[in-house]
Symmetry: C2
């Protein structure tokens, strides 16, 4: 299943990324990690998936916000 | 790594549980799912791990709150 982890390089993001993505089964999920600070062109896609803050992970059609690092509006 | 998913049976919890726990690599993580509504005796342990709302997942020493279902104080 297509899975995208959106983050912005903040400490909360990095910590969440490491603990969570290391635990995922890469045989089940096709994982892409997107740094929205470095790839602002992907912000629109993240918002369409329902991402309102980072870090967040979109697993198939489910969007999960993980703790709180930054509002996506602050990344624009 | 010991991993505990705390929830309270709410719709947000169930949705997060299904999408996330199905994506975990059970060869890497030792997963336990705890329903705090049914097991209130585990609330104390969850709070000590830093859980303030459910659904939340504790992976090793990292506590991640997933979206928002309910405050842990409302489960007492």
């Amino acid at each position: 299943m297509k899975t995208t982890f959106y983050h912005a390089g903040c400490p909360v993001c990095v910590s969440a990324e490491q603990s969570l993505t290391n635990s995922l089964d890469l045989n089940k999920v096709e994982l892409e990690i997107v740094h929205l600070g470095e790839q602002p062109g992907r912000i629109d896609e993240a918002e369409k998936a329902g991402v309102t803050s980072v870090p967040a992970i979109v697993i198939g059609n489910d969007t999960l916000h993980l703790n709180f690092g930054a509002n996506i509006s602050d990344l624009k």
